[in-house]
């Protein structure tokens, strides 16, 4: 599929709509602009994109190797243990049961692919999102500039991201990961900014008053105190990443998304629901673990101690 095809398809469609309504507003060639930008970028930044693609593929292979090499029993045991340490016996048992169900649905391999994609994409999204959130919290201009971009990233229909990423990276896991990172990064930025701005001003002042540097205040006061909120953001990032990774099945992202897309195109209700249920189980596992970890940050525990 070439960029020209997509561009001509989209402009043809919208042009018809515009002439139908007969408005006096001249046709705004927004689609053409984006298309030619993407076209230009694909050529001009080709070495960069090749590099990104190589790095992402390598990273994905690494993560996937960790999850796909050991047998089902080993992975299920390890994940259950993680559940136990994050929350307790209930989560451990729930995790084990859920994973057994996935295996029973014969979705184990695809589930592990999806889990790898989610973990990798979330990590990248957080690596970008948290520092950006910190920066936005400390600088009003950055905050003002970032906000509309985040709005755009979060509300643009998820499928749309797939189009340019496919143009640039062709099919496979990489466009899926890139689209997922773009789609899922927003809450990481937002929650981090919110959390740091919400830190008690007086405590930050105390840091300054005793002669601490800004960097040290960030490390010793702002980030620890904002941690419960940042962890809520992490949770959101992971959830969004999971939903996007499934959508990425449309472009050959593999994993459970591929099964869902196959189920849809073949009207295979059984396959669709089996893959869907696996997604739900993985989602619940990731959600419970991350929210349990949020409750275990030192500040959250300190506050909980006062209520006990």
């Amino acid at each position: 599929m070439s960029i020209a095809t997509i561009a001509s398809l989209s402009s043809a469609g919208t042009t018809t709509a515009a002439s139908d309504t007969g408005t006096i507003v001249p046709r705004l060639p927004f689609g053409d602009w984006v298309a030619s930008f993407v076209d230009w970028a694909t050529d001009a930044w080709a070495p960069f994109f090749d590099f990104v693609k190589a790095v992402l593929e390598g990273a994905y292979d690494g993560v996937a190797w960790v999850f796909e090499t050991p047998s089902f029993v080993v992975i299920a045991f390890v994940l259950a243990v993680i559940g136990y340490f994050a929350s307790g016996v209930r989560l451990a048992v729930g995790t084990a049961v859920g994973l057994v169900v996935i295996a029973g649905l014969d979705q184990w391999d695809h589930s592990m692919e999806t889990l790898s994609l989610v973990i990798l994409a979330s990590l990248i999204a957080l690596l970008i999102g948290i520092p950006l959130g910190v920066w936005a919290a400390r600088n009003d201009n950055v905050s003002r500039a970032v906000r509309p971009v985040l709005d755009f990233m979060q509300t643009m229909p998820a499928f749309v991201y797939l189009i340019p990423t496919v143009v640039i990276f062709l099919t496979g896991v990489v466009p899926g990961i890139v689209a997922t990172v773009v789609f899922a990064a927003a809450p990481g930025v937002r929650f981090t900014e919110l959390g740091i701005r919400g830190v008690d001003k007086e405590v930050v002042e105390a840091g300054h008053a005793f002669g601490s540097t800004s960097r040290r205040i960030l490390r010793q006061i702002q980030i620890p105190l904002a941690m419960p909120t940042i962890m809520a953001g992490v949770n959101q990032v992971i959830m969004l990443a999971l939903s996007m990774v499934v959508v990425a099945g449309l472009v050959g992202g593999g994993g459970l998304g591929g099964d869902v897309v196959a189920g849809l195109s073949q009207v295979d209700v059984a396959l669709g629901f089996e893959a869907g249920l696996s997604v739900v189980i993985i989602a619940m596992f990731l959600d419970r673990v991350t929210s349990a970890l949020a409750d275990r940050s030192p500040v959250a525990r300190a506050l909980a101690a006062s209520n006990a």
Binding site: D200, E202, E205, A206, F210, G211, R216, A302, S306
Partner: protein
């Protein structure tokens, strides 16, 4: 020695702060320059001497919190100079400023500003950690500071496990651990309930007398200001309207605003015996003999008189019938006839503590200096008069303080009865302040 010097300091928040300062200097009021910015502090100047407790008092919005934040550079003055020793805070670079905060000025905050995820000990050690003191040494020093404020045994607790008063002790210990000469206290006790507040005030005074820190204390509570402050600066709408000792402010308010402010103060705790004492009407010298004593008492129309020796040291009290008896028995000296049953108080005793002894004695109370010399007497009627505030015009601030008048009167009665010592003063003239009410919700 001057520890802190503030010279013509302005702080304006807003779009064109410099222009606002220029216009205020040219005579415009705070309201007239509103469009240019909010003038939080206007032309503040004062010196704080080493070892002094300097209190800045004002209602919320009077600029006192902004002012104190300029003393350690948390805010930069729009114009003017703040000097800590030889350093001008408006000129030093960021690094020097940080060094200054580490070594010279520490701060105690209204809502404690502790790190919730650190233990009490690590909170107290925080400034030392910033100073780069090694772990063992800073923990030892922090423990000393905690012992000093009476928190021994709590070092491993988290702040959230402590009561408000104890948390503020941690805040105080943290500031003391920093071992700076200057201590800034921003409404440090305002968030505490009255009994604890009183206790903390006493503790602060005690620490101050042993450690000799220079303390700049911000409060909206006039009683607290008068109790703690060697000198008090009263702020209103960004300006300092009067600076003086509590007695100066009480006896000679600079304007109607200050007069209104102090109308509800529990004067009996601020005024001391020296401010109301009078010259004794009848005074008998030891060598004068009984006849002179009788004549003195007759002329002054009193039933008894204080006896002093040559150096005016108070020796006792002679009653009229004893003087007459001595005369009858032909004695030349009062020796053996005067009694030592009298109460003498020192000149700096607050009036509140004079009521009980005064009630038990028919004589005016004797006021003596440190060497036991009689410096004056306080008749009971003077005591009662001192409790009545001077006439004040019903000016604009009447509505601000009106709410607390009833409470203050009630309190005065309680003091008269010498009851409820601790709770009384702190609640009385506390001025209504939004900050304190929202505070309760927080903690």
């Amino acid at each position: 020695m001057t520890a802190v010097r503030v010279e013509n300091v302005y702080k304006v928040f807003g779009r064109r702060p410099k222009e606002a300062v220029r216009q205020i200097e040219a005579g415009k009021t705070r309201d007239e320059v509103k469009d240019l910015g909010t003038a939080a502090v206007i032309d503040a100047s004062f010196d704080v001497a080493e070892g002094e407790i300097f209190v800045v008092m004002g209602l919320s919005g009077s600029g006192k919190s902004t002012l104190i934040r300029m003393l350690n550079g948390l805010w930069k003055p729009t114009s003017g100079h703040v000097r800590i020793g030889d350093d001008d805070l408006s000129e030093v670079d960021a690094k020097t400023l940080r060094a200054l905060r580490r070594k010279r000025v520490s701060m105690v905050f209204q809502h404690f500003a502790l790190l919730p995820h650190r233990t009490v000990l690590d909170n107290a050690a925080y400034p030392l950690e910033i100073q780069g003191v090694g772990r063992e040494e800073r923990r030892a020093k922090a423990q000393e500071a905690l012992d000093l404020v009476g928190l021994s045994g709590w070092q491993d607790s988290l702040p959230s496990q402590l009561s408000g008063g104890m948390r503020q002790r941690v805040g105080l210990a943290r500031a003391l651990a920093a071992d700076t000469d200057i201590l800034l206290m921003d409404e440090a006790f305002s968030a505490l309930d009255p009994l604890i507040r009183r206790e903390m005030q006493e503790q602060l005074l005690e620490l101050q007398s042993t450690l000799g820190k220079t303390i700049i204390f911000i409060t909206h509570d006039l009683n607290e200001a008068m109790h703690l402050g060697d000198r008090i600066a009263v702020m209103r709408d960004g300006r300092i309207v009067q600076i003086g000792t509590s007695e100066e402010i009480l006896t000679d308010p600079a304007n109607d605003y200050v007069a209104q402010f102090i109308a509800d103060v529990d004067r009996t705790r601020v005024l001391t015996a020296s401010s109301v004492m009078q010259k004794p009407r009848a005074l008998v010298s030891l060598g004068g003999g009984p006849r002179v004593a009788s004549r003195e008492m007759r002329e002054a129309q009193v039933p008894a008189a204080y006896v002093v020796d040559r150096s005016r040291t108070l020796r006792g009290v002679i009653r009229d019938d004893d003087a007459v008896r001595a005369t009858k028995e032909g004695k030349e000296s009062l020796e053996g006839y005067y009694s030592s049953e009298y109460t003498a108080v020192s000149a700096d005793t607050p009036l509140a503590e004079l009521f009980a002894p005064s009630a038990e004695s028919t004589l005016p109370m004797a006021v003596v200096d440190d060497n036991g010399k009689l410096v004056g007497v306080v008749p009971r009627v003077t005591l009662l008069e001192a409790m009545v505030p001077p006439e004040v015009p019903d000016a604009s601030v009447g509505d601000i303080v009106a709410g607390d008048t009833a409470a203050a009167e009630h309190e005065a009665e309680e003091n008269e009865a010498e009851e409820n010592e601790a709770g009384a003063t702190t609640t009385g003239a506390a001025l209504p302040d939004d900050e304190t009410t929202t505070e309760g919700v927080r903690s």
